[in-house]
Structure formats: C-alpha cells, structure tokens
Symmetry: C2
Subunit: 446 residues, 2 copies
C-alpha cells in the first residue's frame, strides 16, 4: 500500500510546529485583546456570489470551488457541465477581508460602530505552490470599521509595536498615504499615472535618478512633469523634514495636503506617546493602492530578509461591494508564516515553546506507579504539564522517549525514593540529578 | 442590492459567541496540555483517496468535494463530467480521526510512540442542516496511539473530570467495553448479534423486560439464548456488583472476561486516585461499536438534556486502513457546540467572558485625550483590555457605545479630573462612580 499524502501546497503542522505557531498566534491575540478588539469567525465556505469579482479575474481563477452536493449533474446539458458556475455554488474563503465586509453588511443591524474585530483563520488559494507560497495559510487580521478618526491608525501602530516587542523581533514600520501619492500625481499633471510614479520612486535606490527619469519618460510622463517631480525624487531626511518638503510641493493639491496632514497627525501621536518603534515615511510604499484611500502600513524585520511581515491601510469603501456605502475602516494583517520563519531564523522562540511536557515520570511497576500517579495529580493541579510513561519498561527506553520528545525533566520514583518520600529529578539537558521531597515537587517545577 | 448571506448549515460566530467559544476551547486545551498532549493540525483539504470508503456509503455522499482547479473539464467526455471522481481530487475533512490516522502513517518515521496529540479544527459534512446539526462544526479530539496500557484510559477519565470541573458542568461518565458486549453475545451463542443485543439492553428502561425479550425474539434470538441473557438484563447495583455478576455470566468467554478485567482495572484507578467524577458501567453504551475494540466512553451533563457532550473509546486498528497495522489507540472527543449550549442554558460562563473591553475612556477633546492615551498605555502594559472612543462626541453617544458593547467600566478624564490627576471611573452595571488617582487606575482594574 502506498503511503498516504496530502494535496500539494497544503501542510500538516506537527506538534513542534504547532507549539511555535500557537505561541505566535497567542501573542498576537493577547495584544489585540488589550486594545479591545473582539474575535470573529466566518465559515470556510462562502457563496460564490460573495467571492466572485472581488479579487480581479486572476483571483476568480484562484478560488477553490465546492462541487454541489447530491446529484450535481442532474438536468444539466454537457456544455453546462463545463461551466463551474453550474455545478458549484460555494467556494473556499480567499481572504478574511471580503468575508468580513460580507459579515458587516449582513449583520449591520446588530453591529455597534465603531466595530473592532480580529480574525485568525485559514484561507485557500489555488495558486501554483512554491517556496513560501501555500494553498492553505492563516491570515491574522485586525480592523476597525465605522470610524474615520486617525486614533485608529495610531492604535494600529501601537499594536505593531507591542506584537513585535512581545515576539522579540526588531522591526521598522514604513508608512505612506494614498492621498499624498494622488497629490503628487495631480501636482505634476498626471493624476492617472499614480502607480507609474510610485513604481519609479521605488526604484530610485536601485537604478539611480537618471534611469528613473528615463523610465518615467517611457511611461508617457512629459519632461515638464518630471521636472516638477524632481524635489520629490530628492526628498531626504527624517519624517518631519520630508513632510515639510511635501507640504511645499503639494501646495496646489487639496488631497495631497490632506494626506500630509494625516501623516503629521499620526507621527505626532507616535512621538508624544513615546511609541518605541521605528516609523518611517516611505513614498514608494504602494501596497494595495487601488484599495487603500489613506494610510498605508508595511512592517519589515530589521535583521532578517524575507519581505513584509505585516501590512495594511485605510479603506473608505470596504462594504460598498455589498451595497452598504461610506463605511470607512482601517486594518492590518500579520503574516504568520513569515513571522514564523523570522523567529526560527533568529532563534527567538522561548525554550518552553519547544516541549509539551515538562516532566516525565518513569514507570517502574505497580507500587512506584501508584505514588507517581498521586504526584502527577498534584503537578497538574499546579498547572505543570506532566505525564507518566504508560507502561513499565526499560529505563533506557523511557529515557529515550523523554529525549525524543524534548521533555526537560524526568522524575524517578523507585523503592529508595518511596522509602524517603522523595523524587529523583533529572535535568535531561545537563544530566544533573537531585532529590526533591514529594511535597516540594510542584513548586520546584512551576 | 440583496443582503449577502452564507451557505445553509454554516455559521458566522459573532464576537459575543466567539468569546464564549474561545473560553471553552481554551479551557479544554489547557487541560490537554497539563497531560502532555501536543497540538496537531492537518489541512482542511485531503485527497479524496484518503477520505473515500472510510465513513461508509452514507459518509462518502456527505463529503464536500473540491472542483479541480484550472480547466477541470479538459479532455473529459460528457459521461465523465457526471462522475465527481473525474472532476474532483480533493475533499474537505469529514472528521479529525481519519486525517490523524493518515498523519500517523505518513509521518511514522518522525513520530515518537506513544504519540499523544490533541486537535481542535472544523470539519465539514454535507448533511441536511437542522437544529443543532451544521455543515461546518468544530471537533476537539484528544488521542494516544501506540500504547495498550489502561493508564491511558485512566488519563482520559481524569481529563473528563478536569475539563468539566473547570467549565462548571456536573457530568456523569458512562463506560462500557466492547469485549464485554462481545462476551455476552458469545455466551448466549449469538456472537453475530452483538448490536441487536446492545440495542435491546438500551431499551430496557423504556419498554420493560418483556417487550425487550419479544424484540430479541423478532431479531432471531432463540428462547434458550434469551434465558441465558436474563441475568444480564437484570443487572443492578454499583459498578463493582455489576462487574462481579458479569464475571460469573461470562465465565465461558475469554474475551468477555478480559473486558471485565479492563473495566475493573480502570475503575480501580479511578477510586484509588480519588477522581471526583461519577463513572458508571452502562452495558447499553455502544457508540461506534464497529470501530471500538475496548473501552467505550460517553459523557452527559447531569442538569441539562442535550445528549452526549463528549465520547470516545479504544480502537485497535486506527491506521490499518492506510497499511500500518497493529497501532492501538484510545481517545475522546469533546462536542463544543453542545457544551456551548449547556453552558448558555445553565448560565455557566464567567462574567469576564462577556466583554472584550474592560474600560472605555470617553473622548472629550484634545487635552483630555492626551492624558487618556497615556493612561491607556499603562493599562495595556498591565494587560487590561482598554480603549478610547476614537472621536470627540456626545457623552450620551459614548455611554451608549459602552453599554451596547457590554463594557463594564467607563473612565472619564475631563478638565476637573485633569486638574486633580484622577479618573472618574463609572461602573456601568451599578451606575456607581468613584475617583481613582491616575497612578492607581491599572491596579484598580486588574
């Protein structure tokens, strides 16, 4: 019989991986909670009518579709059987944003605005699997909808600060504002070329100012416009300095000035609150440009090259696609898989995440077992993860079991120990052994 | 535009529901962890070859199948398009047991036996939706494989004890043993009628002994056999008494006596360890009879009628279906949806599960906001879930927001409070207000 396997692009998460993943999720969740965000979960399956058309043509192709149950082919002509829409009504969630928008619209009568929710669930995409890209992966989103206050942006900055401090990852948060990007495009007379301009700015460091100008020309931006762009391409210095230069350049664009003001406000809060996080204005940051309408966020690890590990922004029309206009929101998403890789790479997981059991009692037979079981109950009462080897067996085999499971302590209760009412506690990492009175065992392992 | 909706039989879990559900899952998980069980997760999609044939013909029909991505119809004749197996290679997980068995076989080289794992994930079944039956629901399984020791059964009894004590649900654990049921059938000369006999015993209380006998006759069991069954139908008393009577009746059945001995051993441990749980031998308990080979468990709430809220048993051939024979295991599964209903019905959720934010700062304008933001940071440092209303607004509106979100405390920092460096802290449940110095706020809310 062939060994069973799983669909390509999907993963089993072993206990060792799960303990590390749970450490990340629990840390993130705990921060979300201290900011008053509440959990939400939506079904894995959504109606295809909810999902289709929300992710572009490419996204539609990447949806996993669920075959209708029962006799899906009943009454269908052969050419109809070739149309997925005739035999599938449901699809798997592609992200958490569209189901969240659907939830807000569907439950608008019950929801209290501003609505602060977090959502940690898997999503599925029929992408070609490759290194670091999976067909099933978790997203970890936190959003506020129903409030245009910039305090929400500030809260997200604080969440980024706290999550990565807790995880021990040194990061830089880059911020931009879609209104500034629009303002720049508008100012140089090419409001339609916002993306081309952003791409060009992004390449500045790599290819130099002359090549960037040549590229802009190729993209149909005239020389006069490129001249007006010059001061922006040459922006240097800290956030304050950049914003003040932008204020001059964008003086003719109401939208642009609004963007500058928004960033000034957010940066002002960050400074006054003493948020211990490097926050940098980066005009080349354009993720999800067609979608975001204000702040844009992106977080990278300082000491590990892996791309963005968290990002998001302000959107003014999350729910318009479902017929509920004018609901502004802002949110960010944490990339659990990449954060995992950073933490493995930088060895940031605390030691206690590496074992599920802190102490194993060896099993030496009936009398000893009875004493061990009593001690086990006391340890578990005290919240110590403990177990006993389930059958009497060779000491060597039991020690090997403890080693292979990375259990840090082994407790031996033999006839000597029974007589003395002590446990021989062996530290499996150092090999050191000591005698611990029964009554002190829980305290010594807590 | 029509309001969007979700597929029938699926559910959104609102923040209020999620907080209660998480409380249940966290409580269960915490108990699993103190017993050294480690988490495992498998993909939502499995190859259909893994799933088909594992749940009977009925189960095969209830699998949700995923349409192959890309051009699923390419090269297929019309009659092939009518066969799900030609256009679908993957299906959604139907339970956690088969994926677990698949995992153990696939990763047998890495796994250390005995392998103790828990798994809390959703499963999907294309069942007809009805009250209490969903097409997506969570299972919450804990199993040990690779050990035949009855200590594992005892650990599961302790887990049941601890989980329901933690949740505050008074329960009774009923136990049976498949070997006893086989022994009874064998003893009366109808080894093939094990299920009929169990069903008959189950009806004893409802329909009385004479009707049960009539039914057994109908099912083809002769009068001599029914006479031999008589002492079993009349079994009364505590576990010890029942087991001792069974020992007599089953004296000719080696398997039956083995079953009696197994239960005696488990009950003996339960007594000696002082496990504070009602454990009852129930010969009518037959869940998953074709699957289990030893102990059978079922838990019901004492004070709420809803059927079984937890159950499981010993199986001797979990992995045989994937070509790895002789791997014995034992496990139980907690029914989160029903446990949820019991806890709502008996009002067992602790108060802190009902709100995501403990204190809301009202927003009275720039100066007051600045002070509030500093206090908020200190509260969050102390782990207190806190937020500020994101914009300046009418007090009434902000209070209403706190009320609708069930936030128990509102903190007011106005000009008077600023001058005194105190917060007016209002208890939203009693309406009571008191002055708390800035420096004492975190401690008073922790």
């Amino acid at each position: 019989m062939q060994k069973p396997s799983i669909p390509k692009g999907t993963r089993d998460f072993s206990p060792a991986e799960m303990m590390r993943r749970n450490y990340i999720f629990d840390s993130i969740r705990q921060v979300f909670r201290t900011f008053g965000f509440a959990p939400l979960e939506t079904p894995a399956m959504e109606n295809l009518s909810t999902l289709l058309g929300k992710y572009g043509d490419e996204g539609d192709k990447l949806l996993f579709k669920i075959l209708n149950s029962g006799d899906y082919a009943a009454g269908l002509a052969p050419d109809e059987l070739r149309q997925a829409s005739k035999i599938c009504e449901k699809g798997l969630r592609y992200d958490l944003t569209v189901p969240f928008a659907r939830y807000v619209v569907q439950h608008q009568g019950e929801i209290v605005l501003p609505f602060k929710r977090y959502q940690i669930q898997p999503v599925w995409r029929a992408d070609r699997p490759q290194k670091g890209r999976y067909r099933e992966f978790y997203q970890c989103d936190v959003d506020v909808v129903g409030s245009r206050s910039l305090l929400n942006e500030v809260e997200l900055v604080e969440i980024v600060e706290r999550v990565f401090r807790k995880l021990g990852i040194a990061v830089t948060l880059r911020m931009n504002n879609r209104k500034i990007l629009y303002g720049i495009a508008e100012t140089i007379g090419h409001a339609d070329k916002m993306i081309d301009i952003t791409v060009a700015i992004d390449k500045l460091e790599k290819i130099g100012i002359d090549n960037v100008k040549a590229e802009l020309r190729e993209r149909g931006i005239d020389d006069a416009a490129i001249d007006r762009l010059q001061p922006i391409l040459e922006l240097r210095g800290d956030n304050r300095r950049k914003l003040s230069a932008l204020r001059d350049v964008l003086s003719g664009s109401e939208t642009g000035l609004k963007g500058v003001e928004e960033l000034e406000t957010v940066f002002g809060y960050v400074e006054r609150l003493g948020i211990a996080l490097a926050v940098e204005l980066d005009l080349s940051l354009a993720r999800g440009l067609n979608y975001y309408t204000g702040a844009i966020f992106e977080v990278k690890a300082n000491d590990y090259a892996i791309g963005s590990i968290c990002g998001g922004g302000r959107y003014d029309d999350l729910t318009g696609i479902f017929g509920m206009p004018d609901t502004s929101g802002v949110g960010i998403s944490f990339g659990a898989d990449r954060i995992y890789d950073v933490m493995v790479g930088l060895e940031l997981f605390p030691e206690e995440v590496n074992f599920s059991t802190k102490v194993l009692f060896v099993n030496l037979g009936a009398d000893e077992e009875a004493a061990s079981l009593g001690l086990l109950r006391a340890l578990r009462d005290a919240g110590v993860a403990a177990e006993i080897y389930p059958e009497k067996g060779k000491m060597k085999k039991q020690m090997e079991y403890a080693n292979r499971r990375s259990i840090p302590y082994v407790a031996i209760v033999g006839s000597d120990e029974l007589a003395r009412q002590t446990v021989t506690l062996k530290d499996m990492r150092t090999g050191e052994q000591r005698q611990v009175p029964f009554a002190e065992l829980a305290a010594s392992l807590q």
